[in-house]
């Protein structure tokens, strides 16, 4: 035993060792506390974050349903294309962010390296197109037009192209069967926007980042049905995105197919003849303006008179819907929507509105009968009609003496309707309407469905307008400030008009009412409205909602949902008057204003009815209208700045009928040549696998006339014995489609 402490050390060291020990333990305590905080207190939040870390969604897009014509011919379907895509996640792992790989890829695809790199960058506010606005985890398509050779090159040398895939994928195709286009009716697709994804998140059909959404036409109207449901497979992945297990998967459900009432062959005829008519109109000289007709736009509707189903609907100018497939180029977009484009995206059959001119007399006649004027009464068809010094002239200042309303329709006498409208206006109280005012000409027009949308199954239909007293009041309220500012007594014509409008634009003037009675002035109608009305006259008075969709058939063909015609009212005409009007419209063809266009028509076998219209628009050339019907079909054609109704549109409409019924220009009917002598009632045949049979289509050959007659004679055909017009349609009129040079399609593809 010694006196030194057992440990042999001084208190200073001893104390310090205790300090060290406490320090060490408190460090470990800190770790334990922090561990408890992370794992026990915040554990759930981290667990959630961890699971988000490892689940990666891979979307298998649903194959979009096809749009078929009435016989099953696909007018919009999908084709298998070789899509070359790049994975951003893989590219970014490379030292140069994949620049070398992309450059090499550009070489294989025959593209510029910059072009390829631009496609892979992500869109933001500062990045112009092209850029990728989808999920950065989704493979980004670089081209969907790779050749099999290019795809093979990429696949066989996959080690040279890390992150690049070449896979077949279903891509929308607007097949254009038989040369038809149907662009505005079909509409188009474009990628879903962030906004739409947010909005649809909690609905029963949420969008996926990769979704294409219908933007117009049938693609938009039936988007939900056509789109189907994308399949989502959730994989557990590691930090490099490598799959380490499958979490769950919902298989993709292909979209339903939409059978329409469109007949691709008739559609082709309608498109061709509309374009041809416009071309010919441009060759005609307009005496009023001193230049050729511009014929800048036109539309034609072929409708089943008894159901309101649309057999063909064409709008001109038009475009190639395939331009939208795989993302539209900036150049194409400018061409379709720019100021100088004349807006080919507009479907003028439902979105073009104009004064109807004399085809409105169907409504005026009904209004007159409703107001108590007998159909067979005698009404003076003078060469002009004056109201307070203002002279309203008959067309070409012709007079026919006292005639019936029927005859007034046949010869399109304006003064008969001027007089009746003026009388009614006066009876209603003139400028200061009585409380009991009937406003027959206006209420009847509303009952005919004018001034309101027809309810066709296409988006953004416009309603036109009936300029009744109420509308005048509202319109004046909205515009009087600018009128009063601009208007000047004794100024230019426009200033004078504005001045008058400022003073009494809210009042229904006699002249307004008189003009309105023959479809001029502020009235606006759409071709589809007029087709609906003339169909109703043909079918005994039922106003059908026009429809394009006929049935929605599920991808497996098992569920068929028919779209039944619906009506939105009846014409306010009794049976006797309807019969009289029918006779009058037939008279238009046999001895009236359209007779010169229907020489040689087999009227006894296919009774044709028609009404011509030539609407004047201030500052523009006249609008050509031609409304026609048989017992099965209604065809309404209009050409803006195209000339007279029968002159510009007559031959084209006749040729559509000839194609429908198989009538040759000399009036012989050949049922074998008839495209659709009676409307297609049945749905196309659905095979057990869900595919739909489609007949083959022959391209439309327009009837040959004039110079080509000799050729026709030489080949042993009968010469057409009807009116000859200068020039025939040449093949230049056939719109060429960039991607649909495949000719007629016989079968639709169910998947790819």
């Amino acid at each position: 035993m010694t006196n030194i402490p057992e440990t042999g050390r001084t208190p200073r060291v001893q104390i310090r060792l205790v300090v060290i020990q406490i320090l060490v333990l408190s460090l470990l305590g800190t770790l334990g506390g922090r561990l408890w905080y992370l794992q026990i207190r915040e554990g759930d939040a981290y667990a959630k974050e961890a699971s988000g870390n490892h689940v990666q969604q891979v979307v298998q897009p649903a194959v979009r349903g096809s749009i078929l014509d009435a016989r099953g011919v696909p007018i919009a379907d999908n084709e298998t294309r070789l899509v070359v895509s790049a994975s951003r996640t893989d590219l970014l792992k490379m030292k140069d962010d994949g620049a070398a790989v992309l450059t090499k890829l550009a070489g294989v695809l025959g593209m510029q390296p910059k072009e390829v790199k631009d496609k892979v960058r992500l869109c933001d506010a500062k990045t112009p197109q092209p850029c990728w606005n989808g999920s950065p985890y989704q493979p980004i398509p670089i081209t969907d037009e790779a050749t099999a050779r290019q795809a093979l090159q990429i696949r066989e040398r996959s080690e040279d192209f890390p992150g690049i895939t070449a896979e077949p994928a279903a891509v929308r195709r607007y097949a254009g069967p038989g040369g038809s286009n149907t662009a505005q009716v079909l509409g188009y697709l474009s990628p879903v926007t962030d906004d739409e994804i947010t909005k649809a998140r909690d609905t029963d059909s949420p969008y996926l980042r990769s979704d294409q959404v219908g933007r117009s036409g049938l693609e938009r109207e039936y988007d939900k049905e056509l789109r189907g449901k994308a399949g989502v497979t959730r994989y557990e992945v590691d930090n490099l995105g490598r799959v380490i297990g499958t979490a769950e998967s919902d298989p993709a459900q292909s979209g339903s197919n939409l059978v329409t009432s469109i007949d691709a062959r008739v559609q082709r005829v309608a498109e061709y003849e509309l374009n041809d008519a416009m071309k010919k109109a441009r060759e005609d000289f307009d005496d009023n303006t001193g230049e050729n007709y511009k014929a800048d736009a036109g539309a034609v509707v072929v409708m089943e008179a008894k159901t309101g189903r649309v057999v063909a609907m064409a709008s001109n100018p038009t475009y190639d819907p395939n331009a939208w497939v795989g993302g539209i180029s900036a150049k194409d977009y400018a061409r379709l929507t720019g100021k100088n484009s004349n807006y080919p995206l507009l479907n003028r059959a439902i979105q073009g509105q104009a004064a109807p001119g004399s085809i409105f007399k169907a409504v005026s006649t009904a209004a007159a009968v409703d107001a108590g004027y007998p159909f067979d009464g005698h009404y003076d068809c003078s060469s002009s009609y004056s109201i307070g010094g203002q002279v309203f002239k008959n067309y070409e200042s012709k007079g026919y003496g006292p005639i019936s309303l029927g005859r007034a329709i046949e010869v399109s006498c304006d003064t008969v309707f001027y007089r009746l409208a003026h009388q009614e206006w006066a009876k209603d109280g003139g400028l200061r309407p009585k409380k009991t005012a009937k406003n027959w000409f206006y209420t009847t027009a509303h009952k005919f469905g004018l001034g309101a949308v027809t309810g066709i199954d296409l988006p953004n239909e416009v309603s036109g307008r009936i300029p009744d007293r109420k509308w005048k009041q509202e319109y004046w309220k909205a515009n009087k400030d600018s009128w009063c500012k601009y208007g000047k007594k004794g100024g230019s014509y426009a200033q004078q008009i504005a001045y008058e409008n400022c003073l009494e634009g809210n009042l229904m003037r006699a002249g307004d009412s008189v003009n309105y009675s023959i479809g001029q002035g502020d009235i606006l109608v759409t071709p589809i409205q007029m087709a609906t009305i003339y169909s109703a006259i043909s079918n005994g008075g039922t106003l059908y909602d026009p429809t394009v969709g006929k049935a929605i058939i599920s991808a497996d063909g098992k569920a068929v949902q028919q779209i039944k015609p619906k009506s939105h009212g009846r014409l306010p005409i009794d049976r006797a008057t309807l019969k009289d009007m029918n006779a009058a419209f037939e008279g238009v063809v046999t001895r009236g204003s359209a007779a010169w266009r229907f020489g040689g028509w087999p009227q006894d076998k296919i009774p044709m009815h028609a009404k011509t219209g030539t609407a004047e628009v201030y500052g523009r050339q006249t609008t050509s209208w031609f409304a026609t019907y048989t017992k099965d079909y209604t065809i309404v054609m209009t050409i803006s700045q195209g000339g007279t109704g029968s002159g510009a549109s007559g031959p084209a409409v006749r040729k559509i009928y000839e194609a429908l019924y198989g009538v040759s220009p000399d009036g012989k009917i050949d049922n074998r040549k008839a495209l659709l002598p009676t409307p297609q009632k049945s749905l196309p045949k659905i095979e057990s696998d869900g595919s739909i049979d489609a007949p083959k289509i022959k391209p439309y050959v327009p009837p040959k006339v004039d110079e080509e007659q000799t050729l026709a004679l030489a080949s042993g055909q009968l010469p057409p014995a009807t009116v000859a017009s200068a020039g025939t349609g040449t093949n230049r009129a056939h719109r060429r489609r960039g991607r649909s040079r495949r000719g007629p399609q016989s079968r639709r593809r169910t998947d790819s």
Partner: protein
């Protein structure tokens, strides 16, 4: 007290059978500190399992053999255990005489790193790579030689009974001895190891009984140095980034902050009992980088939960607790200083390593003692355990 033979290890007592010798009160086996030994072994074996879990799917580094890292970790543990036994057999007193040679050797090795023989791993140029997949991180061994060297200098005159405390001259010499290798390691640059060495020096000085002025002076110099380093831009970009990302991982979630963030998610998602061994999605998915080495604690956190990760901390606690007892109970200042240096080393390295995975310390490339994969580190910590055992074994039996 029983008698004069208290200081003897063996040889003075009566003849005994080998079994009874082993079980005898004064036998080597009885004198070993079993809690430290068992804890260190438990940590090493837990490490083996965690390293295996982290690497069995990493085909890009395990050369297609899922047991590659497991086997090597166990081999390292075995070699480390042998090194410990060797150290105990030699005894720290024997080693005391060899300190100048060992110190010189370790300094020579770290100098080698600066020659073309050196290799860079994860931004730190701290390795010597030999052929055949063998590599050495000499800074691990420098930690030991600094402890031994400083202890030798500081304790020499005190243990001789000349002085109560080391004088300023001795302290200065000891600091100089530590500074030389630290400067070299700094040049690599292996900042993590330098930090550990600074803490070791602090621990050694504290235990040596050196004047408070030295302690506070050193702390002040350290703080001043840190500010200067920051201001003068001595640090490499990656070192600053690592530091900044610890402070705010959201600043750069896909870059430097990614490590810290993913580590935190891994540990946090473990909960109380973890996802089960080999079932951690963060681990299986390899979201945490360097998971078999610096971030091995995250495997425990995720797959074994609070229970398993807590056990690692408790086992380290046992090692450190027993080491503190050894430091306090030995009679020689030399042993106390060596033990204190080891405590400072283990405690700081464990705190820094676990702390960075928990997001309370900046990211530094330091292995977790016993648990992390890595030969040099494993050998060094086992040699340190050997030193602790030797200090305990060679001290007189307390009454």
């Amino acid at each position: 007290m029983t008698g004069a033979n208290t200081f003897s290890v063996s040889g003075y007592g009566p003849e005994r059978s080998s079994l009874s010798r082993m079980l005898a009160r004064d036998s080597l086996a009885r004198r070993l500190d079993w809690p430290i030994l068992l804890s260190a072994l438990a940590l090493s074996f837990m490490g083996a399992i965690l390293v295996y879990s982290a690497t069995r799917n990493r085909t890009e580094i395990n050369q297609g053999d899922q047991y590659y890292f497991l086997i090597r970790h166990l081999m390292n543990t075995g070699i480390g255990f042998c090194l410990m036994m060797g150290t105990v057999w030699l005894g720290h007193r024997t080693l005391r005489t060899a300190v100048p040679i060992l110190y010189g050797l370790s300094v020579f090795l770290i100098l080698m790193v600066l020659t073309p023989l050196g290799a860079t791993v994860n931004g730190a140029h701290a390795w010597i790579v030999f052929g055949g997949g063998f590599s050495l991180q000499p800074s691990e061994f420098v930690k030991i030689t600094i402890i031994l060297g400083m202890a030798m200098l500081l304790a020499a005159r005190v243990d001789a009974g000349d002085k109560l405390y080391p004088d300023h001259r001795t302290v200065l010499q000891a600091l100089g001895l530590a500074a030389v290798p630290m400067m070299i390691v700094m040049l690599m640059p292996d900042l993590g190891s330098v930090m550990v060495m600074v803490i070791i020096v602090l621990g050694v000085l504290l235990a040596s009984g050196a004047s408070n002025r030295w302690i506070f002076g050193l702390l002040g110099t350290g703080a001043l140095g840190a500010v200067l380093i920051w201001q003068l831009g001595v640090l490499d970009e990656y070192q600053i980034n690592r530091f900044a990302a610890f402070a705010n991982p959201e600043l750069d979630p896909s870059g430097v902050g990614y490590n810290t963030n993913q580590a935190r998610i891994a540990i946090g998602s473990g909960g109380l009992t973890g996802t089960g061994l080999f079932h951690g999605s963060q681990t299986t998915g390899q979201f945490v980088p360097e998971q078999q080495t610096d971030f091995v604690f995250t495997v425990a956190g995720e797959e074994l939960g609070f229970v398993g990760a807590g056990l690692i901390i408790v086992l380290l606690g046992v090692v450190l607790w027993r080491a503190c007892r050894i430091a306090r109970e030995t009679t020689e200042l030399y042993g106390t200083i060596v033990a204190a240096g080891i405590i400072a080393w283990f405690a700081f390295q464990a705190f820094e390593n676990i702390g960075m995975t928990l997001g309370i310390m900046p990211v530094a490339g330091l292995p977790l003692p016993f648990v992390s994969y890595g030969g040099s580190s494993m050998f060094a910590v086992w040699v340190a355990v050997g030193l602790l055992q030797s200090i305990r074994v060679q001290r007189p039996m307390s009454a």
